[in-house]
């Protein structure tokens, strides 16, 4: 028993591994209920149009159709995941705002009948002028998408910390660069699905969700139900990455169809409809100005951004704030100005995608810093080391940073990538680049205002002590929280992982938790679980002390054995003590809850980006560029993370792999493309190009020693952090290889080829 921890810090197999490899794991789309109907939503074919009339009579007459609904049949109350801008209706009332906007829905006995019925609904539209570009949408005279928002400005941010102008005036060198991001989509492999059962005044929804709590809250609000009369259950979820954080038309329309028919209704999106619903990454136009002294010390930064929000708000207000709020995390500077317009367009709404708002600005900033380093004749890695944030510091926008090993990350990635041997020394066509990143370990404030704790947990030990069940509202969408929380529970209880069971993410049986977003659960749900486990352990030790007639303070419990610390011969098993507890007092239960401390400043938007802890990462990538085709072949990527104490190393590195993979897709290939009518041109998984197994480079994922003081066992996040540096890292490697800079994402082969051509022409012209 020399090791510090018995259960955490070990790569135990995933608690749901077996059911997932045998095909037994049930996802929402796999569930069936007696008498269940199938439902689908009719969507708008126009990007912007007035609805003149809807005639459902033919559809209603089709045999097998049980209900057809439009805006007339549902509450007119607007909803949305951001309370400051509720701007969506279950069905459009008088106007559609993007291709894919919700117009009507059908429930029928089978899928084939549903599709036939959708075709029989006659909607008469008057097509209106549409706008697809945020800059054009902000101009006077542009089509007005929501009457309440002049010039289509959904969110406007002007934050000013210190004195940027003064910093620029005093700087040795100031430069401005502009970059453009692209719209990407989360593309979880499991399509969204929801089964609604409205019976006897109670609504039960089985759904592919990242947050049963927010679904419950918003569904209850929409229908005027008590929270207790809405049960949201998460079966297994096949990936979310931010796209399954908010309720969709599937839940709202499905609920109404179920109420009208008195039958369970299964609704689902096909792949095309997933793209149309979207809520993916916002396309940002990013102008950055930075002033540095002659040693490369950053004196001030001005981030001036515009983002395409699409037709609705979704989680976009937070995205807009995050875009600027996260930039100062990695480097120490005092003067910072952030301006942002999030603009409505007639495209699908954007929301929160892995790294929420931060990856594109990080790409821009990390490219920009490399360009500054070149201006100064400095090694870009050296420039980053010189500015890297240190522990126990405060950002200009008042985020308190406790643990921070960014410098150690940079030093380590320098060493393992062979940076000093390679930078500027690789043959033409081959290059190396660096970028860093940081991310929150849980949002400091919930999405809507409430004083509920952020996480809660309950552990019930079985009557004979042979197992214990963790009840948690935390949401495993594949990242492995069910596993790490069971490890944490067993550690805190002095129990064994192998005997843990879990019931999670069901608003009726598990205690409240806000769910899977902002990389919050290992820290926040973990804190609640630790407290619950410690309460179980305290009761076990007290019972054992009584059984052994010994002072409780002499006892400890580890891996299912209660023992006397001075004489380990004196012991009892956890199970026999637990059984005795049940005989004497009834159920052995531990409870825990967690709320972060009050965080952040007092300025407008100060809450977004606050967190009890921040992860840090440095990435280096090595690329080979084909001069003829512009093809980017990523040879290797090294990622070094500061993510605090590690609960499960195998799952942690797997998170890095996956986050990096997503960053790589966005860096080189992924982009949702629209035609001139606002229709998606590549709403499928062959033309929206996800990286395949053949595209992935060699990945090395390593860690630095770190422990977060304000977290259970010192944990921090990892799941989103590794997405953030990748795009900038690749861009810098391409520049190192070829001497060309691509100013927009994705860094496609064509753009690299064009940049090379331009360079050749310029050199030929100049020479």
């Amino acid at each position: 028993m020399s090791e510090k921890y018995a259960v955490i810090g070990k790569s135990v197999p995933k608690i749901d591994g077996r059911v997932k490899v045998t095909g037994q794991a049930k996802y929402t789309g796999d569930l069936k209920f007696p008498n269940m109907l199938v439902g689908k939503i009719l969507t708008s074919p126009h990007a912007h149009a007035r609805i003149l009339s809807i005639d459902t009579s033919q559809a209603e007459k089709l045999p097998g159709v049980k209900a057809v609904i439009t805006h007339r049949d549902v509450p007119a109350l607007k909803y949305g995941i951001s309370p400051a801008r509720w701007d969506e209706n279950i069905f459009c009332i008088d106007r559609v705002r993007f291709v894919g906007d919700k117009v009507a829905a059908v429930a029928a006995i089978d899928e084939e009948t549903v599709y036939k019925a959708l075709k029989l609904i006659k909607v008469e539209y008057e097509v209106l002028p549409a706008v697809f570009d945020p800059v054009a949408a902000m101009q006077e005279g542009a089509p007005q998408i929501h009457d309440e928002y002049p010039r289509n400005i959904n969110t406007e941010i002007h934050q000013n910390f210190g004195d940027v102008e003064k910093a620029f005036a005093a700087a040795h060198h100031v430069r401005t660069d502009q970059f453009t991001g692209q719209r990407t989509y989360q593309s979880p492999i499991e399509p969204h699905s929801a089964i609604s059962i409205w019976e006897d005044g109670k609504l039960t929804v089985y759904t592919s969700t990242q947050s049963p709590h927010y679904f419950q809250y918003y569904i209850a609000r929409e229908f005027g139900l008590k929270m207790g009369d809405v049960r949201v259950v998460k079966p297994f979820v096949g990936g979310g990455f931010g796209g399954k954080l908010e309720p969709t038309g599937l839940e709202f329309a499905g609920a109404v169809l179920s109420r009208l028919t008195g039958r369970p209704v299964k609704m689902f999106y096909d792949r095309h409809e997933m793209f149309a619903h979207n809520r993916g990454r916002h396309r940002q136009i990013m102008k950055i100005t930075t002033g540095v002294d002659k040693d490369g010390k950053i004196l001030g930064v001005h981030a001036d951004f515009i983002m395409d929000g699409g037709a609705y708000t979704s989680l976009g207000i937070a995205t807009a704030y995050y875009a600027g709020a996260m930039l100062p995390l990695t480097y120490e500077f005092e003067n910072y100005k952030f301006d942002m317009y999030r603009v409505y367009t007639n495209l699908p709404a954007c929301g929160a995608q892995r790294g929420h708002g931060a990856p594109q600005p990080r790409y821009a900033f990390e490219c920009h810093l490399d360009m500054l380093a070149e201006d100064l004749g400095m090694d870009p890695l050296e420039l980053r080391l010189r500015n890297a944030r240190r522990p126990d510091t405060v950002t200009p926008n008042e985020f308190k940073i406790n643990s921070c090993e960014l410098k150690a990350c940079i030093e380590k990635v320098r060493e393992i990538s062979g940076w000093d041997k390679k930078k500027g020394k690789l043959p033409h066509g081959r290059g190396i680049g660096i970028a860093v990143g940081s991310f929150v370990s849980g949002a400091g404030y919930p999405i809507y205002r409430t004083n509920l704790p952020h996480s809660a947990a309950m552990i019930k030990v079985h009557e004979d002590g042979s197992a214990a069940t963790l009840y948690t509202g935390a949401v495993d969408i594949g990242q492995g929280t069910d596993t790490v929380l069971c490890q944490m529970a067993a550690e805190a209880m002095g129990y064994t992982y192998e005997h843990m069971k879990i019931v999670a993410a069901d608003t009726e049986t598990t205690p409240h938790d806000f769910g899977a977003y902002s990389s919050r659960q290992t820290l926040m749900s973990g804190a609640a679980v630790k407290q619950a486990g410690e309460e179980v352990k305290r009761q076990i030790l007290e019972t054992a002390a009584a059984m052994l007639d010994i002072d409780v303070s002499t006892l400890d419990c580890r891996e299912g054995v209660v023992f006397c610390q001075s004489n380990p011969e004196i012991q009892k098993t956890f199970a026999e003590v637990a059984r005795e507890f049940f005989v004497r007092k009834g159920p052995l239960v531990g409870r825990g809850s967690y709320a972060p401390p009050k965080l952040g400043g007092k300025f407008k938007g100060a809450a977004v980006g606050t967190s009890p802890a921040y992860s840090f990462a440095a990435q280096v990538s090595e690329v080979a560029i084909d001069e003829e085709t512009g093809e980017i072949d990523v040879k290797a990527v090294w990622d070094v993370h500061d993510c605090g104490t590690v609960i499960n190393p195998a799952l942690l590195h797997a998170q890095v792999h996956g986050a990096l993979f997503m960053g790589m897709g966005e860096a080189v290939w992924e982009e949702v493309v629209f035609d001139e009518q606002g229709r998606i041109k590549n709403a499928n998984l062959s033309e929206y190009r996800l990286p395949t197994a053949l595209d992935m480079p060699e990945i090395t994922s390593q860690l630095v020693e770190s422990c977060e003081p304000d977290a259970p066992w010192g944990v921090k996040e990892v799941g989103e952090g590794a997405t953030i540096p990748t795009m900038g890292c690749y861009s810098n490697a391409i520049y190192d290889a070829m001497g060309v800079r691509v100013y927009s994402l994705p860094l496609s082969y064509e753009k690299v080829w064009r940049a090379l051509k331009e360079k050749r022409e310029k050199e030929a012209g100049g020479g």
Partner: protein
Amino acid sequence: MQAIADKDGVKRYLVTLHINGDSYTRVVKANTLLVNFLRDDLDLTGTKKGCELGDCGSCTVLLDGKAVDSCLILAVEADGREITTIEGLARNEKLDRLQAEMINHAGVQCGYCTPGMIMSAKALLTRNPHPTEREVRQAIAGNLCRCTGYVNIVKAILAAANEEVGEGSGDE
């Protein structure tokens, strides 16, 4: 194939499919997809649907030993043929080596691509018991995973092919 027509003249066909060693005789429409037949008629929901266009590979099954997208095959095409789904891999309690290595190497995250991924790997190892890493990557190139970056999946398949290869993930 025996066919009967309903009152609208739509024909249904009597098919027998041999799935995971058992024979199932059912009446299907001409346009019934194999994936829907497996999931809806037989409740074999281990075979997933991710795109219904043959892009994602979640619905991969073995048809006479070859990996196919069951969303691109009609049930009538599979009449009389041998099909293996993810449910047919484990022998009683004992997992197939591929299944076990996927767990050991943390190759499973959300799990939605997992059944299809394992079936593609199974077809590979059946025809090529000692593949190179490149061959593994080629074999699963039609199976999209959004969680893992394929890193641990490739390790798991290599480990299943060769007991010598790969203990643990290799990360530190």
